[in-house]
């Protein structure tokens, strides 16, 4: 139960209990009605037939389609995560530079790539690559480059916010003991900023993992493509079961990552290793200590 819920109502009295019971009853009836409606619709369109669900208990479906698809998704997500973190780190630090000729171009790059709809960017790279580099299969390259540029730009903002969240006294003390600019950043600011950034970084990685599904549109062989194009093509009519199975895999992966982000946030709130408070994920409400986990806007 969220804390908001307890803010809104007291321990119920006799009348409120009756009202709550009526509400519960109505809600149960409504939910049951919706589920029954879905059941009927499935029945009418023959979606309960064992024939279309059967492929998912055969091991070949998993070894030939779902697992390779999942590996494709994870490969794109893994590559893009590493590259986006490098891109984000470089550009985040460049935006903090004392030299305007580094700071301003880096700022422009970050702002522009954050504003471009990701799919347009992926399409553009996908069509640009063959005309520049010659023909070949650029689905993975286009997907990873697009994801890197977009998520890297968002992460650059996270890095900037993280370094800025370290109290000023830390860098002043570091300068006072004679460190140079690079030493202050490398030995004092970054180690503390990383602790503060971790939850926001992980929730941005959830966004990145979800966005790998855009590869479906340029026919990159990922989980969505296997599940939605290839499995229903091989096993005729298995579209809905396939959607449910790959939906569960996506939701499971993302919820596990989100849980990791929440755990990291709690840990870094307690941590004494960093003087900086954990920073909000991009797009989230700037309210400290809401204690409701973290999620980035996508």
């Amino acid at each position: 139960m969220s804390r908001g819920a307890t803010v809104l109502f007291d321990a119920p009295g006799p009348r409120a209990r009756v009202r709550n019971n009526i509400m519960t009853l109505l809600a149960v009836v409504a939910v049951a009605a919706i589920l029954y409606f879905i059941y009927l619709r499935f029945d009418e369109k023959g979606q309960w037939e064992g024939r279309i669900w059967e492929p998912f208990i055969r091991p070949e479906t998993w070894t030939n389609y779902i697992v390779p698809g999942l590996l494709g998704t994870l490969e794109a997500a893994g590559l893009a995560s590493v590259l986006a973190l490098i891109f984000g780190g470089l550009f985040g630090l460049a935006r903090l530079s004392d030299h305007a000729w580094i700071r301003l171009p880096a700022g422009a790059v970050v702002e522009v790539f954050r504003a471009i709809p990701l799919l347009l960017l992926i399409f553009f790279i996908f069509y640009l690559a063959p005309s520049v580099l010659g023909s070949g299969d650029y689905t993975l390259a286009a997907l990873v480059t697009g994801l890197t540029l977009y998520n890297g730009s968002v992460l650059a903002e996270v890095v900037r916010a993280g370094v800025r969240a370290v109290p000023k006294g830390q860098s002043e003390a570091a300068y006072a003991i004679g460190l140079r600019k690079s030493g202050v950043m490398r030995l004092v600011l970054l180690p503390q900023a990383v602790t503060a950034m971790m939850p926001a970084i992980v929730s941005q990685l959830v966004v990145l993992l979800k966005d790998t599904a855009l590869g479906y549109i340029i026919a990159y062989v990922d989980l969505l493509n296997m599940g939605f194009k290839i499995i229903p093509a091989v096993n005729f009519g298995s579209l809905i079961p396939a959607a449910i199975v790959i939906g569960i895999i996506y939701v499971g992966l993302n919820m596990a990552l989100s849980a990791l982000a929440t755990w990291l946030e709690r840990r870094s709130r307690r941590s004494r290793k960093s003087a900086a408070p954990p920073i909000e994920p991009p797009g989230a409400v700037g309210v400290p200590a809401t204690g409701m986990g973290v999620s980035a806007v996508d």
Binding site: A5, V7, P12, L119, Y127, A213, F228, A284, V285, D298
Partner: protein, 222 residues
């Protein structure tokens, strides 16, 4: 540059579809998001569970899957059809999927807004005899909305950019498809890409500034 001028009418028409989609989805997702957040803070445990379940499942599903499922699953397999005309059917399927997806982010933003409303506000509302629904609509939500204007702005900007994914639902009229179609015809064209990016920025940047300004103006003084 010639490419951009030559294809500008088609691209503009596609872009207008994105704007249409955005406007309808903005209304629907804000409404659905408010309903969802009311469920998530309701005194009835089953409503809370349903709200939380919906938000967690849909928010963690890739938008591409949501949209592809609305077209291939809901419409083609299960027979939920809005219109016999494929293009307008596609339009409403995208609206449905994108609103259902965006509503979860609206709900999460509002919920963190509700968490910032001081306990005393709700207690005072109960003390003067307001019911749960009255205190939610008259006391809590108005304050929660004012806190989360800027985050809601980011949600709306993300939604506008997400209208380009409509192609996954088989809706082949908006600007991302027109751009792809043009590239298929004439090969890649940098001016066309830049033109579209500028068009999107012309919509999203003012929204960012406006919601930022509005957030300051309407900030709840505490």
């Amino acid at each position: 540059m010639d490419d951009l001028i030559k294809y500008a009418p088609a691209l503009w028409e596609g872009f207008l579809k994105n704007v249409q989609l955005s406007l309808i989805c903005a209304v629907l997702s804000l409404t659905l998001g408010t309903i969802l957040v009311s469920m998530r803070v309701a005194p009835t445990p089953i409503l809370r569970a349903v709200g939380a379940g919906y938000v967690n499942v849909v928010r963690n599903t890739p938008l591409t899957l949501v949209l592809a499922f609305s077209a291939l699953g809901l419409s083609d397999t299960l027979g939920f059809v809005f219109s016999d005309e494929p293009r307008s059917n596609g339009f409403w399927l995208v609206t449905l999927g994108l609103s259902a997806y965006t509503a979860t982010f609206v709900c999460e933003a509002l919920r963190s807004g509700i968490n910032t409303v001081p306990l005393g506000q709700a207690e005072a509302a109960r003390a003067i005899g307001l019911t749960f629904f009255q205190s939610l609509t008259m006391i809590i939500l108005p304050q929660a909305f004012r806190v989360v204007i800027a985050p809601l702005g980011s949600v709306m900007i993300a939604m506008i950019k997400n209208t380009t994914v409509a192609i996954a639902a088989g809706y082949l009229a908006e600007s991302a498809f027109v751009m792809k179609d043009t590239f298929d015809d004439t090969g890649v064209s940098i001016p066309i890409f830049i033109g579209l990016v500028v068009a999107f920025m012309a919509v999203t940047l003012p929204i960012g500034f406006f919601t930022g300004w509005l957030a300051n103006r309407l900030a709840v003084a505490r």
